[in-house]
């Protein structure tokens, strides 16, 4: 536990007071951004994340009896980021969110919010608010009273409460429903009220626990767009839990893929998709072909791997030699003869008719076992050297006749299409 974190703790309880005094002078919701809350001057609504961390987790562990829900999670989320925790159910993403909200305490490790240690700080005093999966709207209160709840608990003067509630309702596009009870609202309306109820408190970090999970596809798409725009406009930090890969990709600046209480990989959607680090990430995010092989050599930017499909050349950003120091974001190269796994996305494999030409690097012959017409593309199941591969061919302009089942084809991909997996 860092000593400076302990010393800084009292400022947590002081922060909300200052926050509201300052916000009282602001006229519109848009200026009530994180920047305003933090009194850092120059209330900009830039969506660009600042380099300052909003949330820092260090080695968090949470056990429920024999079950380990979180197993040593370390994570940094920067201010202004839309960050998603993505993983299958039971991977610990909701547990992590509850630890951040203070609704649960870790067995070990610590959390810092805006640089302040949150150990022992109750949920009431944390600069975060949560949109719950079930929305958890108070059934005995009206929409207006629900949204006003947080402000009233802090005993803000009623005129200010009313102004802020009106602003939050306008922001989330709730009109004319103020006097309704939650039971009289549709799912989408309830979701908006839950969002307004959290945002009205101007949290430094907004936690969203599968907020769109219960909605139908059309409404979900619409709210995704609104959520993203709202986050950009307010410049807030959002931490969003989901098991929906597409949703995480659409919304997030960065994503942490979680499995079995651990973070598998953190990165932008593009990094995660194009350079998956583990077997799990590769296969959880869309389809991925995995090819086993043996390392036979490397240079500064290329790695040579012998596989059942032939010799493969992999684009390599690791250091050139195991004896050289390895940069933090780079990996040490494999040793000669080491078993490793390569990943390649189905759409990165190119096919052409086999005309009996010789095989180059990253080229192999395969037989079409199955062709599935998907409209925008055709999915082929190929077999080569006993291995099944999936290839997705888009219909980009050239009018080709689809390959027939049993036809022999030549497959090729560039070295950059291949990724070396850690496990």
């Amino acid at each position: 536990m860092p000593p400076e974190g302990r010393l800084a703790t009292p400022s947590v309880s002081a922060a909300p007071i200052g926050k509201f005094v300052e916000c009282a002078t602001n006229e519109d919701v848009q200026s009530l951004s994180v920047d305003g809350i933090l009194a850092e001057g120059g209330a900009e609504t830039e969506p660009e994340p600042c380099a300052l961390p909003a949330v820092e987790c260090w080695n968090l562990a949470r056990r429920f009896g024999d079950v380990t829900a979180l197993d040593g999670v370390s994570l940094t989320v920067y201010r202004g980021e839309f960050f998603s925790l993505l993983g299958p159910s039971g991977c610990g993403k909701t547990t992590l969110l509850r630890l951040l909200a203070g609704l649960d305490a870790p067995n070990s490790g610590y959390i810092r919010l805006l640089g302040v240690d949150m150990t022992g700080v109750p949920p009431q005093q944390r600069p975060v608010n949560t949109v719950f999966q079930s929305y958890a709207l108070f059934p005995h209160l009206t929409v207006y009273e629900n949204v006003a709840f947080g402000l009233r608990m802090k005993r803000l003067p009623e005129p200010m409460v009313e102004r802020k509630v009106r602003e939050a309702l306008a922001l989330t596009r709730i009109h004319g429903l103020e006097q309704r009870k939650p039971a009289e609202l549709s799912g989408g309306q309830q979701q908006r009220v839950a969002l307004a109820r959290a945002l009205v408190n101007e949290p430094a970090v907004l936690l969203l626990d599968e907020p769109l999970g219960a909605l139908d596809v059309h409404l979900r798409k619409q709210l995704q767009t609104e959520l993203r725009q709202m986050q950009r406009r307010l410049g807030l930090t959002f931490i969003h839990v989901t098991h929906d890969q597409e949703e995480a990709f659409t919304l997030s600046d960065r994503i942490a893929v979680m499995r079995a209480g651990r973070i598998e990989q953190v990165g932008t959607p593009r990094q995660l998709y194009e350079q998956p680090r583990t077997r799990f990430v590769a296969q959880f995010l869309g389809h991925c072909n995995l090819i086993d092989g043996t390392a036979v050599g490397w240079s500064a930017d290329r790695l040579l791997v012998q596989t059942a499909l032939g010799l493969m050349e992999v684009a390599w950003t690791g250091s050139a030699s195991p004896t050289l120091p390895v940069a933090a974001d780079r990996r040490p190269p494999p040793t000669r003869g080491q078993q490793l796994t390569l990943a390649v996305r189905p759409e990165r494999i190119r096919m052409r008719p086999d005309q009996g030409a010789g095989l180059g690097v990253n080229t192999f012959r395969a037989v079409v076992e199955e062709a599935l017409y998907l409209g925008a593309s055709i999915e082929y199941r190929l077999r080569s050297a006993g291995q099944l591969l999936t290839v997705l061919e888009g219909r980009n302009g050239h009018e080709t006749v689809p390959y027939a089942t049993g036809e022999q084809v030549l497959c090729a991909f560039s070295p950059t299409a291949l990724t070396l997996l850690d496990d």
Partner: protein
Amino acid sequence: MKSSGLPNVSWFRGRLATAWAVVVYLFLYAPLAMILLQSFNSARYGTKWHGFTTQWYRNLPANESVWEACVNSLWLAGSSTLVATALGTALAYGLSRHWFPGSDTVLRLLPLTVFIPDILLGVALLLVVGLLQQVHAVLGPGMTAMLIGHVTFQLPLVALVVRARMATLDPALEEAAMDLGATRWQTFRHVTLPLLQPGIGAAALLAFTLSLDDFIVSFCTTGPGATTLPIWIYASAKRGLSPEVHALSSVLVMAAVALTVALRLVQKKPWFST
């Protein structure tokens, strides 16, 4: 009447069901109707009809011992309900939201006093009251002892009813309140309590009626000047049933009807209509 294929069978069945219902309701309410009838009988002694009178009702207010018993009963029922509802709600909340060593045992023992025959509870209380009397005279047989006695059998019932209501509450609601900055007390006051209110109201009414018609526990713990209505009626009945007792009983039956209606109103759940 129906004019379809076999009207006679269904018509006969319908009649049979109606007749059966009448028999059952007669079985349930005929004795009460008898009391109501007798309370208007001008005969001083016996049950033979001598003519209609409201004299016994008019006599009631003048009967000081009835008034005293009435006041005692209401005071006892009111105060014991207040205490039992407060304690029972706290117990239910504590048992539902906080685990502590032995909480499971407390939970399992809760329905015990509901199943124990009242007479055992009464005798046990009699023993305790006898002992407590030696500590201080206030704790001896009388109103204080009766209050404690009534709370003893009301509390578990209140706790069970409120806990059942508590089990239907989504714990996320309380978490949401705390997440929005409400302290534990504010959360209880503004979220938990309002949502528990229908359960608490039903439990309080149940406790109130239980106290009002309790005879056994009251009888075992009563002392000088602490006569409740059931005890007064019992004492009067021993001297021979008087028409005043019938009149009083009829008033009590009407009060019970009023309470039942009130209970129905409280148990309506306006917040969870869907």
